[in-house]
């Protein structure tokens, strides 16, 4: 048999994509058979375990090193956000949403404000929409950097976390410049954002955008061809698109299974319709594909932030709507109308129509939905938060079954779970 000639064109990308049947077969092959007749050892993993990404506890039944069954237990961080929200006005709920997912807090602020704005039937002014889009993508980069460092640490490379935190620190400094807070931003407001960009923000941001793509390439050089990582990530934790739909697994894990589902494109919000970007889709549905999706998303985020800065229109950052919006602090001190508006909004709350809406946004870890029920009073009658992490924790049961003990940590890390968001 002759060797294939060098000038032969590589097969088209479509033929390399595994079909659903192939993925099912691969999944069945990668999982170990479970012997029902053998003795089962039950181990309690977590809640205080370095690999558990928060206070997550799972009771796991082992047959040797193979997982037979998993019973996830959550609730150690339950703070009753939904109950608390019923006693607060719509404005006062914003800081609570920060604490849902403290790694990507702007994304939670943004989702909540989009939901309330849909309920009211208002829209943020164009400049605010661009600032929101930019801040959301900054969150995505800093969240993925944290995830990447911790995820690679799960596989045993301790130093890598420090490298990722170097860039994440820069993004947190940018947030500090933007709104004064590094972790819990509370920057979004109903009808816009809290304040305009500070002087010199765009210049510093451009600096970050210049070095980020080279740093991402640097990470890829360290990880992409690392034999230890490839051996532990390829064909491990396969979770097909049908599994994702059944267990409501969303975000990068869904896109890694070949589904081009991205709410930024499917149900556009903020300034995303005016921005040119791709949603990253991979087809292998394993831990490695989820890693690839996130790396590509970071590059897309850099592109989105650059477009936001270049195309950002001038104008106000808060809607002119006295019935629903808290005015900017600098106006409150200078104009009597703004002071009255501030007083009414803080003491009385916004005048919201009766009705109910569901609004979901694409946060870094998946689709975050807010269901707001209003009876016409300034406080929500019911606020239900459908967080992606809640369902990702539940999906550990089918994801871990038949896998080896050593892979559990990598698989759990690959879906990116935050327990604050899970327990609410």
């Amino acid at each position: 048999m002759s060797a294939p000639s060098q000038d032969q064109a590589p097969p088209a990308a479509t033929t390399l994509r595994p079909t659903l049947e192939e993925l099912r077969e691969r999944k069945a092959r990668s999982r170990q058979p479970v012997h029902g007749d053998r003795e089962v050892l039950t181990v309690s993993m977590g809640p205080h375990h370095p690999s558990m990404h928060g206070v997550f506890r799972a009771e796991v039944d082992f047959d040797g090193e193979v997982i037979v069954a998993t019973r996830p237990e959550i609730g150690n961080l339950h703070r009753g956000v939904e109950k608390l929200a019923e006693s607060l006005t719509y404005h006062q709920v914003i800081p609570l949403t920060d604490r849902l997912h403290y790694v990507a807090s702007f994304a939670q602020n943004h989702g909540y404000c989009e939901a309330v704005e849909k309920l009211i039937g208002m829209e943020a002014p164009p400049r605010a929409r661009f600032i929101r889009t930019m801040a959301h993508e900054m969150t995505r980069i800093s969240n993925h950097l944290l995830w990447l460092g911790i995820h690679i640490m799960d596989f045993g490379a301790i130093t890598f976390q420090q490298i990722c935190f170097r860039e994440r620190e820069y993004m947190m400094d940018m947030f500090e410049m933007l709104c004064g807070a590094r972790l819990t931003h509370s920057y979004c407001r109903i009808g816009g954002v809290a304040k305009d960009l500070p002087d010199g923000f765009a210049e510093r941001m451009y600096g970050a955008l210049d070095f980020l793509p080279t740093r991402i390439s640097e990470y890829e050089r360290l990880i992409d061809k690392n034999r230890i990582f490839l051996g532990r990530a390829k064909d491990v934790g396969i979770f097909t698109s049908e599994d994702c739909a059944a267990w409501r697994v969303t975000g990068p894990a869904l896109r890694a299974a070949g589904v081009a589902r991205d709410l930024r494109k499917d149900e556009p919000y903020a300034a995303y319709p005016e921005i040119d970007f791709e949603s990253a889709v991979e087809y292998e549905a394993d831990v490695y594909a989820r890693y690839r999706v996130r790396m590509r998303e970071m590059r897309e985020s850099v592109k989105i932030i650059r477009q936001c800065l270049e195309n950002m229109p001038e104008g106000p950052v808060l809607a002119k709507d006295a019935a629903h919006v808290i005015p900017e602090k600098k106006d409150v001190m200078r104009s009597s109308a703004a002071m009255i508006q501030d007083f009414m909004q803080v003491f009385q709350g916004p005048q919201v129509p009766a009705g109910e809406v569901y609004r979901a946004v694409e946060t870094p870890h998946g689709e975050l939905g807010f269901h707001v029920v209003s009876d016409g009073s300034p406080k929500p009658q019911r606020l239900h938060i459908a967080t992606p992490c809640f369902f990702h924790c539940q999906a550990t049961t089918p994801m871990w079954e038949g896998e080896m003990l050593a892979d559990v940590v990598g698989i759990f890390g690959s879906v990116d779970v935050c327990l604050g968001s899970c327990d609410r």
Binding site: I74, G75, H78, G80, E82, K83, L84, S87, K118, L119, G121, A245, A246, W247, R248, V259, R261, D266, E267, A354, G355, E356, V357, Y358, A360, E367, G369, H371, V373, Q381, R382, H384, A386, F390, F391, C393, Q394, A395, P398, D423, R424
Partner: protein, 175 residues
């Protein structure tokens, strides 16, 4: 209650509304629209039938249960509880909301057979509102401690105070 104004629905949602109305007719007790979203109210006995049809129909294709949760309206004397399911179709990018209203103590069949992701949602709804889901594989407390008393998201449950939680009198003087 908000009235149905079918004109504000998108073309895809209009087809969903037409198909469900032609299939279930009078079983859809109420149809309402708000901000371009479609809400349908069904009786508890039709709950699983409607959800199954939404999932299995080729044209509707609601392949994912986005969330399922409860709500409490103490002012409605006969049916104070509501269970809401938000369904999503990934290929059609449409959403629909199916609701049912329950009397105090009335139970609802579980949807875990349709979507396994309903497991946690139904456990949460039970522990927060006391709505029992018949046939649920593991209906236990999820977010709260296992011997918590009461259903905290009911409107008559107080926000503050030593209620619900366990007060360990047996440890007095031992700590």
């Amino acid at each position: 209650m908000v009235q149905a104004n079918l004109d504000e629905l998108s073309a895809a949602l209009k087809t969903v509304q037409k198909e469900l109305t032609s299939k279930f007719g009078k079983k859809l007790l109420e149809t309402s629209t708000f901000r371009g979203e479609l809400t349908l109210v069904v009786a508890p006995e039709d709950w699983i039938a409607v959800l199954t049809y939404c999932r299995d129909s080729e044209t509707l294709g609601f392949d994912r249960l986005d969330c399922l949760f409860g709500n409490h309206y103490p002012e409605r004397a006969d049916q104070p509880f509501e269970v809401v399911a938000n369904l999503t179709s990934i290929p059609n990018t449409t959403r629909v909301r199916i609701k049912t209203r329950l009397a105090d103590g009335e139970s609802l069949p579980t949807a875990t057979g349709l979507w396994p992701s309903a497991g946690f949602d139904e456990r949460e709804t039970w522990e927060m509102f006391g709505v029992v889901f018949d046939g649920h594989p593991n209906l236990q407390r999820l977010l709260l401690i296992s011997d918590f008393q009461g259903f905290p998201l009911r409107k008559d449950f107080p926000l503050e105070g030593l209620v619900g939680g366990r007060i360990r009198t047996d440890l007095k003087g031992k700590l």
